[in-house]
């Protein structure tokens, strides 16, 4: 594991992280940590504060209160370093549809300042791994959704970030491709990359090492899927989630 640069072997460590918008508290004193090389599932209902929390962690939004370190860097003062050490993949807007596969890879390699020879090498490796070698010069917009998502994930890992944030990476993807995607996640985690992932597929929550469930801006539950199921006497993470989130009314009223 590549824990050297990280505090106490934690890839993410947040204490009382809070964000207010006027009188509304979107994220309310959340405290949690993510270990290096862990696959961490970040769940919550729509409007529970997930997106706001992620934005603070990746340095897009300043916290109103609390401290957090991502890859060992402070979210208040070291946003630049954070961004250089993380990868980010959102469900829809990661890749440019009007550029080819190769051009997208080259673009992101360039953005992260990788040397051209290195980009070439990584491109070849990536295309082979994904089975996209014959499609290297196809426009990304023309690829099937599942391929796009797998490509976007690999591109997010191009600069070998310590942590990769995945925001609903498998929405709308067929069940086989979804599983292939998770195998890519496991492979990345096995190489020491920390994976921070959100999803609406509750079976995918079971794939995570640990999960947190946000309700009304707070972390209502945190633990391994097995622990949570035992704690709540539930059959599945889906049940745990529904039980926790059903009582939530504030998210809806926000």
């Amino acid at each position: 594991m590549t824990a050297a640069a990280q505090i106490n072997g934690f890839a993410i460590d947040a204490q009382n992280l809070t964000r207010r918008f006027g009188s509304f508290i979107a994220v309310d004193h959340i405290t949690f940590d993510v270990k290096t090389g862990e696959v961490f599932g970040f769940l919550g209902a729509n409007g529970a504060g997930k997106t706001t929390a992620i934005k603070m962690l990746v340095g897009l939004l300043a916290p109103s209160e609390g401290v957090a370190h991502v890859a060992g860097f402070d979210v208040h003062s070291q946003r630049e370093q954070i961004r250089r050490n993380i990868g980010y993949m959102s469900q829809r807007f990661s890749l440019y549809a009007d550029l080819t596969v190769r051009e997208n890879i080259r673009l992101y390699g360039g953005i992260y300042g990788l040397p051209p020879a290195h980009i070439e090498e990584r491109t070849k490796l990536m295309l082979d791994t994904l089975g996209l070698a014959t499609n290297a010069d196809d426009l990304v917009g023309k690829l099937p959704l599942g391929w796009k998502q797998k490509l976007a994930f690999s591109v997010a890992l191009l600069h070998e970030p310590k942590i990769v944030f995945l925001d609903e990476p498998t929405g709308g993807v067929d069940p086989i491709t979804r599983r292939q995607f998770w195998e890519l996640i496991y492979a990345a985690a096995a190489r020491g990359t920390t994976v921070f992932v959100t999803t609406h597929y509750m079976d995918e929550a079971e794939y995570c090492d640990r999960i947190s469930i946000m309700v009304d801006g707070k972390i209502a539950a945190l633990g391994t899927p097995t622990e949570l199921k035992e704690r709540f006497g539930a059959d599945s993470v889906d049940d745990v989630f529904v039980r926790l989130a059903r009582g939530a009314k504030k998210g809806e009223a926000a």
Binding site: A45, G172, D174, I176, T177, F241, A245, G251, E252, A253
Partner: protein, 316 residues
């Protein structure tokens, strides 16, 4: 019982892509019918043909006994349609959106209130809030109210639960159940396999083709090969080990389990389970638990779309 929807050999292509390929099925009146498949399977094209927005290249389709090509206007006043992504005006309030769609369909909110009330009442406290400020679940309820306000004979819902959290999704399906109980025919599409369980019948659709149509409980019964659940230990390692087993047909992550399908249809699942258990133990996975299970919709879907030819011999 007459049919609310009848499709016969429906095909539709866009340039070179076959969006629908020889699709035929019926939906009975009062049925809750699910179309389950990933993005790009052809679900949206099918809805657009049913709502008379697209004309099929081949084949025919009727909705409420009306032809989708000839009886364009007659169909339009009788369907309630909710396209993917909730077609709402983000800069209009909840009430304004509903009032507008009511007027467009030649009615008023008052006239449709009884039908939409169970759904609309949940968002009515926020009726002055703009649609853009609603959560996914509330948008979904508003869009459903808008599609229902003119009291249609049939409800066509294209991926109404996409981008909505698990709780809202459950509530939404509860509401669909209530609507069905009131006699409404509902055709709904979803990429979430687990939602298929809430339908009377489901059509599994992939790459423009219907893979199977059955009541959800019956879908798994046609699974052609022995299926095992494997749990315990380091999941990724377990997965690799199983993939290397010579008789493995397919191995997939499945919630907190792994699902293992064996190539040998003729061997009993019990025998295979013992064999696999022993193999895993040899590979050092001594704590692995292996048990035969019956297939679910997602297992069937993956098997059907995987295109692995089912053995002709004993496909019991």
């Amino acid at each position: 019982m007459s049919n609310a929807v009848e499709l016969r050999s429906l095909s539709k292509s866009f340039e070179k892509v076959k969006a629908l390929d020889d699709v035929s099925f019926d939906v009975a009146e009062g049925e809750l019918f699910g179309l389950v498949g990933p993005d790009g399977a052809g679900k949206t094209t099918l809805f657009r043909i049913l709502t008379t927005l697209l004309v099929p290249d081949k084949g025919s389709a009727t909705v409420c006994g009306l032809d989708v090509v000839k009886d364009l206007w007659a169909i339009r006043s009788r369907v309630g349609y909710m396209p993917g992504g909730f077609a709402l005006y983000p800069d209009l309030s909840v009430a304004e959106n509903l009032e507008f769609f009511a007027a467009v369909f030649g009615t008023t909110v008052e006239k449709g209130y009884e039908l939409i009330a169970p759904i609309y009442r949940q968002i009515e406290p926020f009726k002055d809030r703009r649609a853009e400020a609603l959560s996914g679940g509330m948008k979904q309820k508003l869009a459903l109210s808008c599609a229902l306000v003119h009291r249609p004979d049939i409800l066509l819902l294209d991926e109404p639960t996409t981008g909505v959290d698990a709780v809202s999704r459950r509530e939404f399906w509860d509401q669909l159940g209530n609507l069905k109980a009131s006699g409404l025919t509902i055709v709904v599409s979803t990429p979430y396999m687990d939602e298929a369980l809430r339908c009377d019948r489901v059509a599994l659709i992939h790459s423009g083709k219907i893979l199977e149509i059955d009541p959800p409980g019956a879908v798994g019964r046609r699974y052609p090969l022995p299926l095992l659940s494997v749990t315990g230990g380091e999941r990724f390692e377990l997965l690799r080990a199983l993939r290397e087993f010579p008789e493995a047909h397919a191995v997939y992550l499945f919630g907190d389990e792994l699902h293992y399908t064996d190539k040998r249809a003729e061997v009993s699942a019990q025998a295979i389970a013992a064999e696999v258990q022993e193999y895993l133990a040899q590979r050092g996975h001594t704590d692995a638990q292996v048990a035969p299970i019956s297939a679910g919709i997602e297992d069937s879907f993956m098997e059907l779309m995987g295109g692995a030819p089912p053995p002709t011999a004993a496909a019991a």
